[in-house]
Structure formats: C-alpha cells, structure tokens
Assembly symmetry: C2
Homo-oligomer: 106 residues x 2
DNA sequence: CCTTCATTTAACGAATCTGCTAAATGTTGT
DNA sequence: ACAACATTTAGCAGATTCGTTAAATGAAGG
C-alpha cells in the first residue's frame, strides 16, 4: 500500500477522522478523554487509536496509567504534500471552471 | 460519513489512488485505457471507477461506446482545504520540530 | 438484424473492518 | 498484597470490500 494511501485509509473512518481533528485542536490527550467524546465503547476507541498509531498518524506516550495520544504533524503534512504535488491540476482546473462561470454570467 | 472522510475512503485503495493520479496527469481517459494499466480484471477496475464516481471524485462522460473519466478538481480541492483548515497545527508543530533539530545540532 | 467492441452488472468467496462484551494487563494508592 | 482505575486484548457476529468469471447492456458497423 503506497504510504499516502494508507494515511487516507486511516482517515477514512469518520470516527478516526474526528479523533484526529480533536487531537489537532486540543493537543496531547489521554485515551479516556477521547472515549468520553464518542458513543462507541472504550475498546472500539482503543482499536481506532491503535489503527491510527500503526498508520503513523499518532504518537502514544505512556504516563502512569494513562496513554497520551497526539497527532504526528508529518503525517498530516504528507496529505498536504500530496495535494500540493497535484496542485497544478486542480488549481488550473478550478480556474478554468471559474472562468467558464464568469463567461456564463455575462 | 462526513464528506471529507468519504473522499479519504475513496482514495484509501492503492489502485484507486493510482487511477486518480493517472487521470490528473493525463486528463480525460476512457475506461479501457485505464484497465490496460492495471493487472486486475476489467470488472474490478470498473468497480473502482464506480466507487470513485459515487464518492464524487470523478466525472463520467458517455462518448459512443466509451466512457470517459476525469477527476473533479473540487474533490481534490476539498482534501487541500482540509489540510489547510489544520495548517496552523501541523505547520507550527513542524517548525517546533525543526527548531528542536537545529537546537540539537548546535 | 447480427456481430463486435466497450463497459457494466451479477453472483460468489475470501479477507478485512467495526462494533460489542468479557477478560487480561499494568499502575497507583492503601 | 489488594482494590481501583485506565486501557488494551480476545473472541465473536454482522457488514463491507475486493477480487474473480460469466452474463447482460448498449452503441457502431456491415
């Protein structure tokens, strides 16, 4: 699996995406606090965290009985890099569409 | 499923990601030509194209016996937008990491 | 019409994902 | 050592995914 596609896979679950967004907003957070935010069981959240960790999206830090999770910025950057690699395509195309819209509006 | 997570889901398969990258590079392409590039069967590629279409990542245009596929730039832009929404997080964090590296190097 | 070409749909099996509950692990405080 | 707490692992059911081959669809040309 190409590396960026495995990052996409990790983000493809709505629950995992929300976990990542929460961690980016609030920084390092213990597993238990993440659990509280979701209606699913603790083990289910734990599994999601483990998927994210395996995919290299989060760091896990052991602190007493807690595990602190945080997003690895490089991972998000890889997504950004992927879009930037193709920026010429979508930016140019978007401009063409906008131009066509302006043309239509006249 | 939040919209961006369904885009991530569509891109989470290596074969689909490669299809999208090919289409971005080469523009509108008939299904048959896409098939030739992959070792999997025609029906398998057709299914991937249909997944991409359902997720809003590609346009399908009927041209005689051919179906021409092309990437919808807005879809890629949504990925870009998502990274940009969190840019402050990963950019700041990357800088912090870089600063730490520079600190270590001294 | 009938055939051929391009592509999709159907039907199926193997593998993977996601959730659950119950049990295990490891840590802290008594 | 023991009890309480935080989290993960095990084991299982149901849904989904991805590939295959065979059959269906639909346009183009003789």
């Amino acid at each position: 699996m190409s590396h960026v596609s495995s990052i996409f896979a990790a983000l493809s679950d709505p629950c995992r995406l929300e976990i990542i967004e929460t961690l980016m907003r609030e920084g390092e957070t213990p597993a238990g606090e993440i659990c509280e935010r979701f209606d699913i069981s603790g083990p289910a959240v734990s599994r999601h965290l483990s998927v994210l960790h395996t995919a290299g999206l989060v760091n896990r830090k052991v602190a007493g009985k807690h595990r602190l999770y945080s997003v690895r910025p490089e991972a998000i950057r890889q997504v950004s890099d992927w879009t930037m690699d193709h920026r010429e395509f979508w930016e140019a195309s978007m401009n063409r569409i906008e131009a066509a819209l302006r043309e239509d509006a006249r």
